[in-house]
């Protein structure tokens, strides 16, 4: 019926469900019972209950009555049937909608006044939800894409795991920007106006789109980065074979090193860290196909602080945002960030690298 998720997955979850049930019995059920027996919303239900009680009495006490002989237990509804025969399906569809979409589904910063006073992001959802291995059954992102392209990428048919994602919302030429390096960026900043830089980057982006290989799909990515793609296919097949185990391992053990399987990946990682450290960005956007709250909790757990955004702010470091790549609203939020530069990272598998770096801030 309802649920909240925050933190890491553990084998304690089933126990917690039992614990939740106990508290439901203590707190929620008495209120429901009162509402059902006394509230106006359930007057019809009580009316039906009264009807059923009397019908039962009638069937038992007046077995010889004509009505009983003709009607009882014969499943006849002629004359009392309703005109709209599809009303059952309509109500059922409302059920389904509430179940799929959730009666509520939002993220709340809980302040743990009970324990430490630290705030903790939690996602509260009531309805049905995908959990477990399904959460990583499709990990899709691209290495260098614009926010608009994210929608396309997440709609890819085949899962693709790529090392990381660099997006500069202001410039639509992230790859070109990354390639020219920090010195060139400093030079741009010194000599060109904001608008000139935007136009220049847009031109570079267009050139790249024309001449370059698209990396927003598995094929394009494989062509551009064959060694990484090959390596990732291995990772992918391992993942597909051990989704649950891998998921658990990732969440609990947080192993690192995947970034360093290839020289190229390591170089990209180093460049990424350099960009963060040099404060080239106003925002860091962590895009994840997993639950963003879970992702946020990973980061929080690894940095040993629940106020890491304040922590980073004090240090003059970029602010962090979590984006669910499957959530169109969240994707739209990327547009809001366009007022500043931002670096987008894909957390899955490779986020550990970023997390580790934050530890040392």
């Amino acid at each position: 019926m309802g649920g909240a998720r925050g933190g890491v997955h553990t084998t304690k979850a089933p126990l917690l469900n039992t614990l939740g049930s106990q508290i439901i019995r203590q707190i929620v059920l008495p209120l429901l019972e009162k509402e059902i027996n006394e509230g106006k919303n359930f007057a019809q239900l009580r009316q039906v209950y009264s009807g059923v009680i009397l019908a039962n009495w009638y069937k038992r006490a007046l077995k010889q009555a004509l009505v009983n002989q003709v009607y009882a237990n014969s499943k006849k509804v002629n004359g009392i049937d309703i005109a709209d025969k599809s009303s059952k399906e309509k109500i059922y569809n409302q059920y389904l909608q509430a179940y799929k979409k959730g009666v509520y589904n939002y993220i709340k910063e809980d302040v743990g006044i009970l324990f430490s006073g630290e705030s903790m992001p939690r996602k509260y959802f009531s309805g049905g939800c995908k959990i477990g291995a399904a959460m990583i059954s499709k990990v899709v992102t691209a290495q260098e894409i614009t926010p608009v392209q994210i929608k396309t990428v997440t709609g890819a048919k085949h899962p693709v795991v790529v090392p990381f994602l660099v997006v500069n919302a202001k410039s639509t030429a992230p790859a070109a920007r990354a390639a020219v390096g920090s010195r060139a960026q400093k030079s741009d900043a010194a000599t060109l106006s904001l608008e000139e830089r935007r136009l220049k980057n847009a031109r570079l982006a267009n050139q790249q789109r024309v001449s370059g290989v698209s990396v927003d799909n598995e094929e394009g990515f494989s062509q551009k980065y064959p060694s990484i793609a090959n390596d990732q296919r291995g990772i992918q097949s391992e993942l597909e074979g051990h989704l649950t185990e891998e998921h658990q391992e990732l969440l609990q053990g947080m192993p690192s090193g995947i970034m360093y399987r290839t020289q190229e990946a390591a170089e990209k990682a180093n460049r990424m860290i350099q960009l963060i450290e040099e404060g080239k960005y106003d925002h860091i956007v962590i895009i994840t196909d997993q639950d963003p709250v879970l992702a946020k909790a990973h980061l929080q757990s690894a940095t040993k602080t629940s106020e890491w955004n304040n922590f980073l702010k004090k240090k003059g470091k970029p602010q962090i945002h979590f984006i669910d790549s499957n959530d169109p609203v969240a994707i739209q939020r990327l547009g809001v960030l366009q007022a500043g530069k931002y670096l987008a990272l894909e957390l899955f598998l490779l986020g550990h690298l970023v997390i580790k770096k934050f530890k040392n801030l």
């Binding site: 019926m1 909240a4 126990l15 049930s21 929620v28 509804v77 009303s87 059952k88 509430a98 009666v103």
Partner: protein, 101 residues
């Protein structure tokens, strides 16, 4: 669960069947609203969940999936009978979790 599994076909096309189904839907929504974390009861509920999680597991940083199906069941029905006439003297419904029913 399919729509057809909720009610027998004939019952589903009566006023009573339709009303029961819509009341059940309302029950689900009411339950959800009671554990909504911004509400009074919801706050109490989640505080207790996290407090017990902390007590039992030493952390609140764990996923809590409270999946609870709620059912309404007859609790008590008292009928006053006088010849061929009957009156309901008392009736009460109770609410159970699926696992308790």
């Amino acid at each position: 669960m399919k729509a057809s599994a909720l009610f027998r076909k004939n019952f589903g096309i009566t006023d009573m069947g339709r009303d029961l189904l819509s009341e059940d839907y309302m029950l689900k929504q009411l339950t959800a609203s009671l554990i909504y974390p911004e509400g009074e009861t919801g706050k109490q509920f989640w505080a207790k969940v996290y407090a017990q999680a902390k007590q039992k597991f030493g952390t609140t940083e764990i996923p809590v999936n409270t999946f609870n199906k709620v059912w309404i069941a007859p609790d008590k029905a008292v009928i006053y009978q006088n010849g061929n006439t009957a009156f309901i003297a008392e009736s009460r419904l109770k609410v159970l979790l699926e696992e308790d029913s």
